[in-house]
């Protein structure tokens, strides 16, 4: 939860910025002690609290510890570790500080993230005796991923190293280098003894070699997060309300501002409208601009299909619409995130099923060694490419921190999160002056009628391998079941759409690209496009898969070459043998068979009907054809 601009007013009429901070670092390096000491030094303890805790300690036969102040839970006192975010308020000279005590125990990293995600600034605490530990580095890395830019480092327990300036400098250099690598510059590195009070609110003679600020002074210099008014408008839609005769689109302005009369575009569909009114209660409608951080409701000048998850922006400054993202994430789930895994992505108010299609640079941020590319383990970080089941509106984090971050859910529970590094993973940009018109029908309306989702079934194989025969059999089969299959035969399209293309490598690549684009358009509109094309180049087919994305199903028709040549339905092999046909795939051995197609079929070994059966089964298994049993199970 991030509460934006925070100015709290005091009785004398001055305004004091409110700053939310988190204290992080390795377990037992003294976070709770520092918090207890800070509360005492700033005169923030409730009356009798200190005395009460001292009495409790005495009763338990334990010496009083400052950290007891925070250990409000019985369970914590039993274990001697703080287990969750606590929010405590106190004042420095010019700031109201809301302190979120995040724990350091490795098991509770999810709690550190919950706390730190709400913070404007952080204090990273390090034990002078133990120095920088894995959890110190891990927390530093997570602060960077969570977007916390103001970090003050505190080197605690200086009393245990006789207030040695050398030891302090050693630790200071090491942590500064680590943070700087992450793009985080520490605002201060402060030697303290939280237990004795040195360096917390006052400088003592024991650290006379240190010239920088005390902890309280460093906190006083932190700036509160500001709403992102300067960025382009982003209004993720939370819901559409029709409680009365108004149809109100509700959401919170994450960045920029809006007003009645603005021309807007609704992403990812790209529909354009004007804001008719800005609604409010008890006063309505609202005049003037509404800025970032406001929860608003607007009505539009025309009836459009708008739904939760859409993002409203100004025309010409919209987010990208994409089905593919690259993100740097942290992973909190017990089971590692593996390549190929099915996940649920939440970005703004949109949720979308998705597949992890690539994992890179997975690493324990505490160790920063042994990088791997297969999976991301619990409490580790990594970069992933995500393929989304539906188009979403997104920005990269560097363009917009609010619409450029996402969380990942597994089994209905938040399992990780991270920053969007890039949108579309290197695919070409959509020119912003092209505004695609959307179909009047939603994909789910069509799929409800056809009993299948849209797909591109791509049959590849040598000439004469049986692609067209199989494609036609499949088309008949799907149509007979009430579906909407459409055959795209390579040769047929070469007669018209691709009539300008020859058989050079470049022309073949373009031929495949056009086939893939047409097929993908059909698939996005709920049809099953069956493409029958030799498509010999692995690279071209990979490009087709990128275009069609999650709708792509590759079937390798792997009939042996000699069988194909003996069939020779179009007489091409004979011509090629006679030297009358140049650049003919089949004789020239330039066919590159798929390494990982969804299905491989040898038509010399089975009937056309069997082969069509097998394709149908694959389509059902991979979520294209609706399986009644699966449907039923999903509704339970």
């Amino acid at each position: 939860m991030l509460v934006p601009t925070s100015i709290s007013a005091t009785p004398n009429g001055t305004t004091r910025p409110q700053v939310r901070i988190v204290i992080v670092g390795h377990v037992d390096h003294g976070k709770s002690t520092l918090v207890g000491r800070l509360l005492h030094e700033t005169g923030s303890l409730p009356e009798g609290k200190l005395e009460m805790l001292k009495a409790v300690s005495a009763r338990r036969g334990m010496p009083f510890e400052w950290s007891f102040l925070l250990d409000a839970l019985q369970t914590e006192r039993d274990q001697g570790i703080t287990i969750d975010t606590t929010q405590i308020r106190f004042r420095t000279g010019s700031r109201d500080i809301v302190l979120i005590d995040a724990p350091g125990h490795a098991e509770f990293l999810r709690n550190m993230i919950t706390g730190a995600s709400q913070a404007d600034g952080a204090v990273l605490i390090i034990d002078a005796l133990e120095g920088v530990r894995d959890q110190t580095r891990r927390h530093g890395y997570l602060l960077h991923l969570l977007g916390v830019k103001q970090v003050a480092v505190v080197v605690n327990k200086m009393d245990r190293v006789d207030f040695s300036a050398d030891r302090f400098n050693e630790i200071s250099d090491e942590i500064s280098a680590h943070l700087t690598d992450l793009g985080v510059t520490p605002t201060a590195v402060i030697p303290i003894s939280a237990r004795d009070g040195d360096g917390v609110a006052e400088r003592t003679p024991r650290t006379r070699w240190y010239q920088g600020p005390t902890v309280v002074e460093a906190l006083d210099a932190l700036e509160p997060a500001r709403p992102l008014e300067a960025l382009a408008l982003r209004l993720p839609v939370q819901a559409i309300y029709k409680f009365d005769d108004r149809r109100i689109v509700a959401g919170r302005i994450e960045s920029g501002h809006l007003a009645a009369g603005d021309e807007i575009v609704i992403m990812p569909a790209g529909k354009i409208a004007k804001i008719k009114t800005v609604e409010s209660w008890p006063l309505t409608p609202v005049q003037g601009k509404q800025g970032a951080g406001r929860s608003v409701g607007i009505t539009l000048d025309r009836e459009l299909f708008v739904e939760r998850g859409d993002v409203i922006s100004h025309t010409g400054a919209s987010p990208r619409d994409t089905r593919r993202l690259r993100a740097r994430i942290f992973w909190l789930h017990d089971k590692p995130l593996a390549n190929g895994e099915q996940i649920l992505v939440r970005l703004g108010t949109r949720e979308s099923r998705a597949t992890v299609v690539r994992i890179e640079k997975a690493v324990d941020p505490g160790e920063l060694s042994s990088i791997e590319n297969e999976s991301i383990a619990k409490n580790h970080v990594g970069e992933i490419d995500i393929s989304l089941a539906q188009p979403i509106a997104a920005d990269s984090y560097s363009d917009n921190p609010r619409t450029g971050r996402l969380v990942i859910e597994v089994a209905g529970r938040i399992a990780g999160g991270g920053l969007v590094l890039s949108v579309d993973a290197g695919q070409r940009a959509v020119p912003i002056d092209i505004v695609p018109a959307e179909s009047a029908l939603r994909p789910d309306e069509r799929s409800a009628r056809y009993r299948h989702n849209g797909a591109v079934v791509w049959l590849t194989g040598l000439p004469g391998s049986g692609k067209s025969t199989l494609a036609r059999a499949l088309e008949r089969r799907l149509f007979g079941n009430g579906g909407s299959p459409i055959l795209l035969d390579g040769d047929t399209l070469r007669a018209g759409l691709n009539g300008d293309l020859g058989f050079s490598a470049a022309d073949r690549t373009e031929n495949i690209r056009r086939l893939a684009e047409v097929a993908t358009h059909l698939a996005r509109n709920g049809h099953i496009a069956i493409v029958a094309a030799v498509s010999p180049s692995r690279e071209d087919r990979a490009a087709a898969r990128r275009i069609a994305d999650t709708a792509f199903r590759e079937v390798y028709v792997a009939t042996p070459a000699e069988v194909c040549e003996s069939r020779d339905p179009k007489g091409h092999y004979a011509k090629a043998r006679a030297g009358a046909l140049k650049a003919f795939t089949g004789i020239g051995n330039d066919y590159q068979p798929p390494a990982s197609s969804e299905l491989t079929i040898d038509t010399s070994a089975r009937s056309v009907s069997d082969a069509a059966d097998e394709i149908e089964r694959m389509l059902a298994k991979t979520g294209i054809l609706f399986d009644e049993l699966v449907d039923l199970a999903a509704n339970i």
Partner: protein
């Protein structure tokens, strides 16, 4: 501490700084040589103050809860916090509260509270559901007396949950009330028995909430978790939200927090208006719930009640 003194409105910087300068550049050159007209300036967005920010966050939470859960209810304790919540819900849903207000009634509230419920239940057009608590004899006798009495509410709540099948309950708890409440999430899953597993809370960040409770469990939703006692009063005053008069001083005493008659005590105070309450709060270090007997009975009474589903 977040006192909204009357003069604060003067301090509110009404104009944004227009950080990108965009709004300023809209003036044509000949206009820029003179003073921009007042109407042109009005086109800039007014900046948000502290209460605006709190309000916007709470509205966001309400809308997320309503979008993601099937059967919501708001727990209306009739106190200042839940009245602010109802006000925020009506802001979120443009004058409507599209789910029931549930009053789990111990039968031992102050007469002023029942009068308030009957009046504003109608005036605010609430879908009011009143559910009685079971008799005290059915409650765990090993609990200290006040805790036992209050724990009746837990049982009453369980009965209401079973009766209506709510999958989300909106509750007006705040982090600043009590140390254990500081550990709450905004969307907090509860077990089938209403229990709270402090150790196994999923992460919650960037306003993305865990809204899929396991089968049989329900969610508690806390839209004012980030507010303080002073915020509640400042907002109540700004929005003119009605209050129960027991909160204001009468004969040198007032109630800071309203619970059952037999376990709630007034505090010494001369604050006879919301303004005076705010001034009083700014100087006090006495915890808000100090008037509630049950918190002090044993060190862990409060936590035991939390785990058992008591708010």
């Amino acid at each position: 501490m977040h006192l909204l003194a009357p003069e604060t409105s003067k301090d509110r910087s009404f104009w944004t700084e227009a950080p990108d300068g965009a709004a300023v550049h809209k003036f044509s050159p000949d206009q820029s040589s003179t003073q921009p007209s007042p109407t042109a300036l009005l086109a800039l967005a007014p900046s948000m103050d502290h209460l605006d920010a709190l309000e916007a966050q709470s509205i966001y939470i309400f809308r997320e809860a309503f979008a993601r859960l099937k059967k919501l209810a708001l727990l209306w304790s009739l106190g200042k916090d839940s009245n602010v919540m109802i006000w925020l819900a009506r802001k979120a849903f443009f004058g409507h509260m599209p789910f029931p207000a549930l009053h789990v009634d111990t039968g031992k509230k102050f007469p002023e509270m029942y009068a308030f419920r009957d009046r504003y239940g109608k005036e605010w057009q609430l879908d009011l559901r009143i559910e009685p608590c079971p008799p005290l004899e059915t409650i765990d006798p090993t609990l200290p007396p006040a805790a036992r009495s209050a724990a009746r509410k837990t049982e009453g709540l369980k009965l209401a949950l079973a009766k209506y099948g709510f999958d989300g309950l909106v509750a007006g708890i705040r982090r600043d009330e009590e140390a254990t409440r500081a550990k709450e999430r905004v969307f907090s899953p509860r077990g089938t028995e209403g229990g709270w597993d402090v150790r196994d809370q999923p992460p919650e960040f960037w306003d993305q909430f865990n809204a899929s409770p396991p089968p049989g469990a329900h969610l508690r939703i806390h839209p004012i978790l980030h507010w303080t006692e002073a915020d509640i009063w400042a907002y109540t005053k700004r929005e003119n939200i009605p209050i129960i008069p027991l909160y204001l001083a009468n004969g040198g005493k007032r109630y800071r927090s309203l619970g059952d008659r037999d376990i709630t005590n007034p505090v010494v105070s001369n604050a006879a208006s919301i303004e005076e309450i705010l001034i009083e709060l700014d100087g006090t270090k006495v915890p808000e719930r100090s008037g509630r007997a049950l918190d002090h009975e044993t060190e862990d009474a409060f936590e035991r009640l939390r785990v058992a589903g008591y708010l």
